[in-house]
Symmetry: C2
Subunit: 341 residues, 2 copies
DNA sequence: CCGCAGCTTGCATAGCTGTGCAATGAAACG
DNA sequence: CGTTTCATTGCACAGCTATGCAAGCTGCGG
């Protein structure tokens, strides 16, 4: 409530008639202080508007309670939703998110790692970022725990939390085949990412197990424009697909926009479309998209638990968690007999 | 490249055969150091993987280069887009965003202010948050500059950056009247926010100036469900509206989903719909929404400039900036003669 | 009444860095 | 070659807090 000069523990100590140590102990859980001095200190702190300096505290305890979040892009709604939940989950545990936006270029990521070290972050979460092996090595060298959210990197020694992407891709393959589709195409997610590769692999392998093969697989790079171009290309062929699996909901919307908006086709009458993620928009009647749900809540919980555990015990081995996701039936694809309620 | 022990400037100094001061000066722009020692120091730092401790630096300079961002929700796509740009703009200037998610309840905000002070943030940006006057006073007391993004609070003494919301509302009123609509309704943005109030006021006032009045004005709270309920209510009346202005694009999508998805109506054949923001989805063929563009890029620039200027010169008076936004013509509303190209 | 145990509290130090000040060295100039 | 000047560098201190250690005090039991 005083003027704008920053107020330190010394000011509080003087006003309360005690030493700095006493003030520090009052604000340190687990330290011993008598009820009387605690009251005096709290009152003085209140009057002066004092709060302990978390940065100075971090310098001496070696714990900043800051988590660095590296995120490449936010246009896929899955990531803002996850960001909000991550922030809430970490806030509840006394941690905070320092955000870093980066393209997927190596030099971006490299520079960001420097800054993460400068800010003494206790841990790192990456989202929608494909890490390089170089970065992997440097993180390990810096001794900062890393959890990759919605990405994995086998053999990197880094923890990761993903949904069961291969299983999800397989479910969609079965679903589309059961729906009686003849020409099934896949506009895949970025093949530089584990999610993009795993979904594709699970999808193609299950098709093969059913004695089928995809009409075509094109890398849509998780990009709206590229996916739209790929869709136009597919549909311009003599025998166009009657079902398209897009690598994410965000790109499935792009596919549907081309089919309905540009080509005047009916979904699912002419072409069935399925996606992956179950972002909120997928439930809107405008798209009503059949998709695999990525359980954001549980993925976030697992990410936070894993990261904090690794911060507590740095020697704990990294673990790659996969969380199963359900097929969500909606109106964008023919529903075969036996599915649904 | 070494083991995981944190490496300090003393380690680098020893390895380079110089004093701590020399190391500090090499990493402080503007300080004097000979080319020779700079080379020695940089080399030793490289070998040890040293980076200066930004937290310790912040303790002594009194500048953390951390900006606190308070955001209430991210489901309206306008905010993730803004967040990404804010982060980029600040990163370019050597600042970073510490993120705080909060509901709009007073106790949330109050607790967050404590944490903002603890982390010694140099400035605060609020987005999608309605601040209380109490918070206003406490921020001023703490001496931390605040810029409200996409919100204003007249008379609070806080800086703000918004688009010209009254002017935008007026443009939409004119546009809908020129389109020959007979019964014009407004499902407004949250009336506890300046944007919601200003857009409504500009809209209603211009209607009045044209000798018209709205069929009804309902507070949609910027919430999808509430807006959908309001739309159902409007359309169930004996004389339903033939044009609806929704307080944001995000809620305009909700209106369209009810009209087309639930009621089987044609947009704009039966009802014209307009929104506000011009988020990316508004341009997708699935919605193709006529709206007022909020120029995110310029709003972000202005926010960053204002905040940094206020950090440099704390006595600088607060300013409320308004940035004009254009009417973007698309297919969700009848286009009157004389508009368009 | 005395000794001991246990809780409090102040002192001093640690944890990392920026920066004023003075000393050192070299370079430049006469 | 002598002197002045300037850049450079080390020392010491500041900035804010946590914590081990020892001293003080209180209370309890003998």
């Amino acid at each position: 409530m005083s003027s704008e000069a920053r107020v330190s523990s010394l000011d509080v100590a003087r006003r309360a008639g005690v030493s700095r140590s006493a003030v520090s102990r009052v604000f340190t859980p687990g330290a011993s202080a008598s009820a009387e001095t605690a009251a005096k200190v709290r009152r003085a702190a209140e009057e002066l508007g004092y709060r302990p300096n978390a940065l100075a505290r971090a310098v001496i305890t070696g714990r900043s309670r800051i988590i660095g979040l590296i995120v490449a892009y936010l246009d896929n709604q899955f990531y803002p939703v996850a960001l909000e939940r991550l922030s809430n989950a970490l806030q509840e545990r006394g941690y905070h998110i320092l955000i870093f936006t980066a393209g997927n270029r190596d030099e971006d990521i490299s520079g960001i790692l420097q800054e993460l070290i400068e800010f003494q972050v206790d841990g790192i979460i990456t989202a929608s970022v494909g890490m390089t092996n170089d970065l992997t090595r440097r993180c390990a060298a810096a001794g900062i725990p890393v959890v990759m959210f919605n990405r994995g990197q086998p053999g990197s020694g880094l923890s990761s939390v993903t949904s069961a992407n291969r299983a999800g891709g397989a479910k969609l393959a079965e679903f589309l085949v059961a729906g009686g589709h003849a020409r099934i195409a896949h506009v895949a997610g970025w093949q530089g990412s584990s999610t993009g590769v795993d979904r594709k692999t699970g999808f193609v392998d299950r098709l093969a197990a059913l004695g089928r093969e995809p009409l075509d697989v094109i890398d849509g790079m998780y990009d709206r424009e590229i996916t739209m171009a790929a869709t136009r290309d597919l549909m311009a062929r003599p025998a166009p697909p009657d079902a398209i699996f897009a690598g994410s909901d965000h790109t499935a919307f792009a596919v549907m926009d081309v089919l309905r908006g540009e080509l005047g086709l009916d979904v699912p009458g002419d072409v069935s479309v399925v996606g992956y993620d179950d972002v909120p928009i997928a439930a809107w009647p405008g798209y009503d998209l059949t998709t695999i749900r990525q359980p954001v809540g549980r993925m976030v919980e697992a990410t936070v638990e894993t990261l904090l555990a690794q911060i507590e015990a740095p020697d704990r081995p990294a673990q790659a968690l996969e969380i199963a996701g359900d097929l969500i039936l909606r109106g964008s694809a023919r529903i075969p007999e036996g599915y649904g309620p």
